[in-house]
Amino acid sequence: MSIESIVDATRAGLAYERLRLDAASRNIAGANVPIAADATATNAEVLGGGGFAAQLGERPVGTRTVLDPGHPMADAQGMVHYPETDMVQEMTTLMTASRGYEANVRAFNLLRSMMLRALEIGAK
């Protein structure tokens, strides 16, 4: 296994964790943004069906309704619709993505220090 392939693995891992953080941040940002009453709410989700070649997609979710007749986006019944975002799920994703990113950086740093240590073989 060459050094390049190990670095590529780390690169893919870092990109994937960043994508997960991207999806979770979008969902948290949109959690309290009202949507039209007849629109279907969507949450960002990492698609890809396994493997690193993942990209951001959208997943339809339910709506959360709040009674607020004075709101400009309230429907006939005075309900305002929001996307149904599972905050616990999103915060967990944030945390695991952050830890995963950290772990990938740690793995790369270890590879680098091993490589530099190898250069010391036979050095005066």
Partner: protein, 100 residues
């Protein structure tokens, strides 16, 4: 980060390896060619890191970890080359010190 100095080296290494090749397929010539190829490879990785850094500085959508990984990879290659150079110079000096 200027890389012109190193890319100039690759042409020097190529010309140096080309000269002894004409005499015979000696192991010396092969080593020179190998050295030239290694330096050329190092140069491309340094230039890749440089262009990514420039793209990021210009505000393009480049991930920070991509730039850092490329720079570290280039640095590892450079340190390896410096170490090879140290060994070569050491061997040369060892030969020069030999009593005839």
């Amino acid at each position: 980060m200027s890389i012109e100095a190193i890319s100039a080296l690759t042409s020097v290494a190529a010309s140096q390896s080309a000269a002894p090749l004409s005499t015979a397929a000696s192991p010396q010539a092969d080593f020179g060619r190998m050295l030239g190829e290694g330096i050329a490879k190092l140069d491309t990785s340094l230039q890749a890191a440089d262009s990514q850094l420039r793209a990021m500085a210009a505000g393009k959508d480049v991930a920070v970890h991509d730039v850092m990984l490329s720079m570290e990879q280039a640095r590892m290659g450079l340190m390896f080359m410096v170490e090879v150079r140290n060994r070569a110079v050491e061997a040369y000096q060892e030969l020069m010190r030999m009593q005839l």
